[in-house]
């Protein structure tokens, strides 16, 4: 599926270094499919959990104003820690189609792209501006345009960045890599054969 732009309402999730243990607590990794994971997103800090009850604040994912949002706004180093793909899987299953942030942890970024959930970066002050505007008017639509390299909402527009290969993958719909890797398998065997540890020294 090709993806040139995503349009929809947004959900601001403030905070730096939000790790994948927070996004998807480990106990929900005890399942052999990704189905139903969206029901446990940020579970330990949301309403109904002991920790959530303690903090008292409304979690963005519980806030009715952001229901139906398809664009997630985040700050610095989002998705750090564990390599669990369960984190982006759950976000995607909860309806998130793109993530705009200051920066992303590397494994999270790659995992998200692999499943067609693009993570794009924007300048810190612009991300803050987007968050403030969305908090003020949660019903306003954002448009993340991978082709033009912009993120827009009424009256505000900023540049977004994503690596060239990620942009190509989205625009051509070719982010499922296995086929590409299997294409010229003879070459893989050639490399294997020239490695001394594969050949047995």
């Amino acid at each position: 599926m090709k993806m040139t732009r995503i349009e929809g309402t947004a959900l601001p999730m403030r905070g730096d270094d939000i790790d994948t243990d927070r996004i998807m607590p480990a106990r929900y990794l005890r399942a052999i499919t990704f189905e139903g994971l969206e029901g446990h997103l940020f579970e330990d800090e949301r309403a109904g959990s002991a920790a959530g009850a303690r903090t008292g604040a409304v979690h963005p994912f519980d806030n009715p104003a952001y229901r139906g949002a398809s664009i997630l706004l985040v700050n610095r180093n989002f998705g750090s820690g564990s390599s669990r793909e369960h984190a982006p899987q759950a976000l995607q299953r909860a309806g998130i189609r793109a993530i705009v942030g200051e920066s992303f942890a590397e494994i999270f970024f790659g995992n998200s792209l692999m499943i067609g959930l693009p993570c794009v970066t924007a300048a810190p002050d612009e991300v803050r501006e987007l968050m403030e505007r969305v908090e003020e008017r949660p019903d306003v639509h954002l448009r993340v345009d991978f082709e033009a390299g912009t993120c827009e909402m009424n009256g505000f527009r900023c540049a977004i960045r994503l690596p060239g290969h990620a942009r190509d993958a989205l625009l051509t719909g070719a982010w499922d890599t296995t086929g590409m890797l299997l294409e010229r398998y003879e070459e893989v065997d050639t490399v294997g054969a020239r490695l001394p540890y594969v050949a047995g020294f």
Partner: protein, 465 residues
């Protein structure tokens, strides 16, 4: 101009430049475990694919394994299903598995090196972020997600972007009571939890050169906590001595030829680095985390920071202190602990257990503390028992368990309860990491955990040796 180990290994494993502009890299060793593989095997099944290189693939189970009673079926139905799925997948596809009854079973990052599967100059991938551990041997090793596990199973390759290399030289000598864990916690604190994004960390300097392989593994293990997907140490004599006689290592004349090749893939003396950092050994002290990410740490002689201001970092500090139940400005030493956990792929090897036992010997666990030791592998457990370490721990009031990830993460019966505070030799102090949504983790070296266990509070281990 010379090359770094990373560049050499990268070039040797390059298959081609993909149409996407990424590099197709051959994966020399793929380690598999129960949590991140089931969906990947299912994807292969759906498309009728085989595992490309069974000779380069090896599986074990560690995350969900109970460490006390391992009778099958497990009491936890989901864990049992997951274990059964791994067994079925390995059988159906022909992947070698060190299962529960196998004396090679253990945490994937402990058994890879132990068995000699992990070797210098390899590319190593595993569906687990702490795969960086294997870099201690001069391998380029990194964690991947489940879709990439599928890619490696099906093609033995990954599509990757190049990495930059930051050399981190740890120079001088380590003061007494300061361990590899303190070195890496200090590095993460100084460079930041996101500071390594886009980089491989090459650990060098005389201190790293004198470190045992176990210590190097502790350092490389936590590279990912600094944001670096890859961390490595150039292979040297110490590496070769460790490799000798391991079940999957070359032997006889092949071992000599291997040594020559292993030497050749080390970074050249005139290699160019994208960044260079020096950490001076004399400045290091035992370190304890006070917050909710591994960069939020302080010397055991120091104080918890005060949250000044409400913006950015001030807010993050205030949130972390509230979660941890700590007050800005108070001394970290003396913080009462409820649980002491010695284990995890960071610090569950024989030398870790020896250091902890040295502190514990002749002392008793404080009455209010629940303390336990979880060896990283069945073979570490056996070796420790041969030395009588289990007796020392048991006599002091520790529980002595079987190998697994245990309380490093909340996927098995070992979990914190409520808001318990845990002195832990593991690698992550994230909110909820140890299985209770309000549980609190203080990361430190195994010797420091031992000191906390016997005194009941965070204690400078140097006072006990």
């Amino acid at each position: 101009m010379g090359k770094t180990l990373l560049q050499k290994v990268w070039d040797l494993h390059t298959v081609r430049t993909l149409p996407s502009g990424q590099t197709q890299i051959f994966i020399g060793l793929h380690l598999v475990h129960e949590v991140t593989s089931p969906q990947a095997f299912d994807a292969l099944r759906k498309r009728g694919w085989k595992v490309a290189r069974l000779d380069r693939t090896f599986a074990t189970s560690d995350h969900i394994v109970p460490t006390r009673d391992r009778t099958r079926p497990f009491l936890d139905v989901m864990a049992e299903d997951m274990m059964a799925a791994l067994e079925r997948n390995c059988r159906d596809f022909g992947v070698p598995l060190a299962g529960l009854d196998d004396d090679r079973q253990g945490i994937v990052h402990v058994i890879g090196p132990e068995l000699g599967l992990t070797q210098p100059g390899m590319t190593i991938a595993c569906g687990d972020s702490h795969t960086s551990t294997h870099g201690a041997f001069g391998a380029v090793a990194f964690g991947i997600g489940t879709s990439q596990v599928r890619d490696v199973l099906a093609s033995q390759c990954l599509a990757l972007e190049p990495m930059k290399v930051r050399r981190i030289r740890v120079t001088g000598t380590l003061p007494r009571g300061v361990y590899a864990k303190d070195v890496i916690l200090t590095i993460i604190n100084r460079l930041g939890v996101g500071g390594g994004v886009g980089y491989a960390y090459e650990y060098a300097g005389d201190i790293v050169g004198r470190m045992s392989m176990d210590e190097r593994m502790t350092i490389c293990n936590m590279s990912i906590e600094g944001g670096a997907r890859v961390g490595y140490v150039n292979p040297d004599q110490r590496t070769f001595e460790y490799m000798k006689g391991r079940p999957f290592a070359p032997s006889g004349e092949a071992f000599e030829r291997a040594k020559t090749w292993w030497r050749s893939i080390a970074s050249d003396p005139d290699a160019r680095y994208d960044d260079d950092v020096e950490i001076r050994g004399e400045e290091l002290t035992p370190v304890v985390t006070w917050g909710v990410n591994p960069g939020q740490s302080v010397s055991v002689t120091g104080r918890v920071p005060v949250a000044n201001g409400s913006g950015g970092d001030g807010q993050a500090i205030a949130d972390a202190l509230a979660y941890m139940g700590l007050h800005g400005g108070e001394a970290i030493a003396g913080t009462r602990v409820d649980v002491a956990f010695i284990g995890s792929c960071t610090n569950s090897r024989l030398s870790d257990l020896r250091e902890a036992a040295r502190i514990v010997r002749g002392r008793r666990v404080a009455p209010h503390v629940k303390a336990f030791v979880v060896p990283g592998s069945a073979s570490v457990k056996q070796a420790a028992e041969r030395e009588g370490l289990d007796e020392i721990f048991r006599a002091a009031g520790f529980e002595w368990r079987s190998a697994g990830c245990s309380m490093c993460l909340g996927m098995n019966p070992d979990k914190l309860q409520g808001s318990q505070v845990c002195a832990s030799s593991s690698n992550r102090n994230f909110k909820g990491r140890q299985g209770s949504p309000t549980g609190r983790t203080l990361l430190m070296s195994p010797a420091m955990v031992a000191a906390a266990a016997v005194t009941g509070a965070v204690t400078d281990v140097r006072e006990l040796v």
